[in-house]
Amino acid sequence: MKIKLYGGLTTAMILMSSVLVTACSDNSGKQAAAPAASQQQPAAAKTPEKADPFGKFAQPVTVTQVLGFRPPEDPKTPKGITPEQNGYLKQLKDMLNIDVKYMWTVPTEQYEQKFSLAVASGDLPDLMVVDQKMFEKLYEQGMLADITDAYKTYASPTLKKYVEGDGGFALGMFTRDGKIYGLPSYEDPYMSTQIMWIRTDWLKNLGLEPPKTIDELEKVAEAFVKNDPDKNGKADTYGLALQKKLIFWGFDARGLFNSMGAYPTAWLKGSDGKLMAGEIQPETKNVLAKLQSWYQKGILDKEWALKDDQKAVEDIVAGKVGISFGEWWYPNWPLNLNKDKDPNAEWKPFPLPSFDGKPGKSLVNKIRLNKVVVVNKKAKHPEAVIKMASFYNEMERSKYKDINKAENGWVYNWYEPRIYNPNNFENLFQAVNEAVANKKDKVESEKDETVIQGADEVFKAAKDYLAGDKKAWGLYFSRAADDGGWGLTRKIRDQKLVTFNEYYGPATPTQVEKGASLDKLMDETFTKIIMGSAPIDEFDKYVSSWKKLGGDDITKEINDWYAKNAK
C-alpha cells in the first residue's frame, strides 16, 4: 500500500483547495501585470553596481537547505561518503565562505512527501528546490523572497545565460509584478517529442518496410500478430505496446493520438483563436475507433487494460511486442534489456506516421521544466543562494576538471542549486559526434570552457559501441547516434513537425477541484470504448458530461489565463 501525502492531484485538492481557490482568484489581477513588466525588465534594469559573483563573504554565511538525493552515479566515488562531506561544499566554503547546513537529506523518492510535511509544519530552509505546483503554493502564501536584485547583481554571466536561455520565457513564468521569485532550470522542450520505436529485425524477417502512414502501420502491426515475426513457430506476439494509462510517461497511446491529430489533455488553439481541450475533439474519437478495431484484430494485447507500465515493459523485454510509441530515451531503458535477452533484436525510431495525408505531429509542451530554485522570505542572504548557483556552473569549467572528480568526493548530483544549460543535450550530441568523426580521444568543452555534462560518458559509450561492444548500445543509440533517439528527435525539431500545448500555467481552481474526476471519466470511457464494451458513440455522451462536470468552467478559466498571458 502506498500512502501519498501530497502526490497527485487528488491530495493536492484536499490539502490546498482552500488556499488555492481563494488565492488564485485574487491573483488573476497580479498575473496580468506580470508578463508586461517582465518584458520591460531588460531595458528598465538599473546598471548593477560592480559585484563579484564569486566574491568571498567576509563573515561566514550559513545557508540551510534540504536535499533529496540518490546514490552517487560514479562508481569511483569514495564509499560511505555522505552529502555533508561532498567536495562541492568544501570548495564552496573555501571560495565563498558559505556553510551549507542540511535540515534533512532523504532519498529522492521521499523528497516530495518530506518537503510537503516541512511546508505544513512551517519548517522551511533558506534555499528550496521545488516544482511549479509547489512554487505557486509558496508564492500564494507569501513565503518566497524577491530575488530580483540578488539575481541581477550576483548571477554570473553563465548562470544568466542558462536561466534566460529561451529568451526569458521560463523566467517570466516565475516573475510576478516584475519581481523574480524563482530561477527555473529546464531542458529542451523538444525532448518530449513522441516518436515510434519498431523492431526492425521483425520487419526484415517479414520483408516489410517501415510504415509511413497509419494504414501502413496497421498492416505492419497485423503482420506482427499473425505472421510470426520472431520465427519461433508460435503465435505469441502482438503489435503495439500499450499500458492501461493511455496518457502517461511511456508505453502509452500519446504517440498514436498525436499521429492522427488528437491531443487529449492538451490545450490547442481553435479556429476562433480560443483554447480548446484536446480530449473532447472529434479527432480523439477517430483514434478511439481505430484503437477499438485494433483491439479486435489482436494488435493490442488482450489484457492491456490491466497492464501498468512495468507489465508493458515486461512484454517489450520478453520480445512479445514490436512497436511502441515514446520518447528518445527508450534504448537506454528498456530496449537495451530486450537486446540483452535477444541479441538479434534491433530497434529503430521513426517519425510519427501520417494520417489522411497530413504528417503526424507530436505534442510538445512550451516548457520542459525540471525545477525552480526559490529562496525563503526569512533567509538573511538571498544573494548567497544566487552565488551558490553561479558557483556550481563555475565548477563545471575545464579549469576545475582536475579537482572536480568523483574520486575526490565530488558528487555533482548531491549539490543544489544546479541550474543546467538548457542546450546541454544538443551540445552533447554535437560534441560527441564531432569527436567521433574526427577520431579525437576526448570531447571538447564548450566555447566558454564549460565541460558538457555527461559528454565523457556518452563519448565512451559511442567509442565502445562502434568498436563492437553491444552493451554500450543503449547510451549511444539514445543520445549520440544520428539515426537514434535524439538524432531523430532533433531532425523533427528542425522541421518543426510538432504541435504546441498552449497552456503552461498552474492548475486552475476548477482543475484543482474537479480535474481528478474528469481524468477518471476520460480513462474509463476511453478504455471501455477500446475494449468494445461501449460503442464508439459513447464518446459523444462523454463530451457532454465532461462539459457539464466542470469542463466548461475549466475551458473558461484557461481562456481567461490565455487572454492575459498569450505571447
Partner: protein, 294 residues
C-alpha cells in the same frame, strides 16, 4: 480396532485436504515466486519469465547485497527498533491493563480511566500535529520517534485487560490469602496464566514494528537512520507524472534491477516469518483449565 469410515467422512477428509492445501499454497507461493526471481538472471526477471523456479540461476543479487551497506544498516536499525519497541510496548500494556482489569469497587473510577484510553482509539491528532509534537519534544531523528508516539497500544491493552478479567477470581483470592501484593499478583499469578494472550500481543507488536515504514520516512532526517521497511519503500515507488526528466530516467534504469529489489524484499520478510514458529508453543488455550475446582 479399525473404524470403518463412512463415504461422507472420506469425502470430507479429501475435500478438507484440498481446501487447506490450496489455502497454504496461496500463502506460500508468493514467497516462492519472490525467491525464484531473486535467484534468476535480470533479463529473465524483467521479461516476467520466472514463475516458481529460477531461470538462469545466479546468486549475483545476494552477492551484491552482501556488499551493500544500506541494506544491512537498516536491518540493524529495524532489529533495534523491534527490541526496544516491543519491550516498551509490552511493559506499558501489562502495567496498564492490570489495574484497569479490576472492578470499580477495587479501583475507583476505573471505567472513567478506561474511557480516557479508549478515546484515543477513535480520535487522533492527525499527521501534522503529531509531527509537530514529535519535533518539539526533540525526538525527531532519534529511534525514540519510532517508539514513543505509539508506546501504548490501547487496542492490545484492552485485549489483555479482558483476558485478565476472565482469570478466575478464586486464584487471586488464594494468592491474597497467602499474602501476595498486587505486584506479586501481577507477575506471579496473572502473567503466567496469560501466556497465550501475551504471546499474541508480542507477535502483533513485533510484526507492527517490523512492518511500519511511514513513520521512519516522516521522522528520520537522513537515510542512514531509516529502518528496513522505510528503506525498502524507496525501492518500490514508481514514477507518477507525465513529463519525465533526464534525472527520472536514471531512476528508471535503477528500477530495472528487479532481481536486486526482490532479493531485498525477500530478505526483509524472512526474519518476521521465522518469529512465528517460536511463538507457536504459547498459543495453547485453556492453560487455566483445571486450576480451580468449583
Amino acid at each position: 480396532m479399525v473404524y470403518k469410515q463412512s463415504i461422507g467422512r472420506k469425502l470430507f477428509v479429501v475435500v478438507n485436504g484440498f481446501v487447506l492445501t490450496a489455502v497454504m499454497l496461496l500463502g506460500v507461493l508468493p514467497f516462492v515466486h519472490l525467491l525464484a526471481i531473486s535467484l534468476s538472471s535480470n533479463s529473465a526477471a524483467m521479461a516476467a519469465e520466472v514463475k516458481l523456479w529460477p531461470v538462469g540461476f545466479t546468486l549475483e543479487a545476494y552477492n551484491y547485497l552482501a556488499q551493500k551497506s544500506e541494506f544491512l544498516r537498516s536491518l540493524g536499525i529495524s532489529a533495534e527498533r523491534v527490541a526496544l519497541g516491543t519491550a516498551v510496548n509490552m511493559l506499558l500494556v501489562v502495567i496498564t491493563a492490570y489495574p484497569l482489569s479490576k472492578s470499580n469497587a477495587q479501583f475507583k473510577y476505573r471505567t472513567a480511566y478506561v474511557w480516557f484510553f479508549a478515546v484515543t482509539m477513535f480520535f487522533g491528532g492527525g499527521l501534522i500535529p503529531t509531527y509537530i509534537v514529535v519535533k518539539e519534544t526533540g525526538l525527531l531523528n532519534t529511534i525514540w520517534a519510532l517508539i514513543l508516539p505509539g508506546a501504548l497500544s490501547v487496542w492490545n491493552m484492552v485485549m489483555l485487560l479482558n483476558f485478565f478479567r476472565n482469570v478466575p477470581k478464586d486464584m487471586e483470592e488464594a494468592a491474597v490469602i497467602d499474602g501476595a501484593s498486587h505486584w506479586a499478583l501481577l507477575w506471579k499469578v496473572y502473567l503466567p496464566v496469560s501466556l497465550p494472550a501475551i504471546a499474541t500481543i508480542v507477535l502483533f507488536t513485533v510484526v507492527g514494528h517490523w512492518n511500519s515504514w511511514f513513520d521512519g520516512i516522516l521522522y528520520m532526517n537522513s537515510p542512514e537512520k531509516y529502518p528496513l521497511q522505510s528503506y525498502l519503500s524507496t525501492l518500490v515507488t514508481s514514477i507518477n507524472k507525465q513529463a519525465i526528466s533526464v534525472e527520472d530516467l536514471k531512476r528508471l534504469e535503477n528500477v530495472s534491477e528487479k532481481t536486486l529489489r526482490t532479493a531485498q524484499i525477500f530478505l526483509g520478510a524472512l526474519p518476521i516469518m521465522l518469529v512465528y514458529p517460536f511463538l507457536q508453543r504459547y498459543f495453547i488455550k485453556g492453560i487455566t483449565v483445571g486450576s480451580v475446582k468449583e
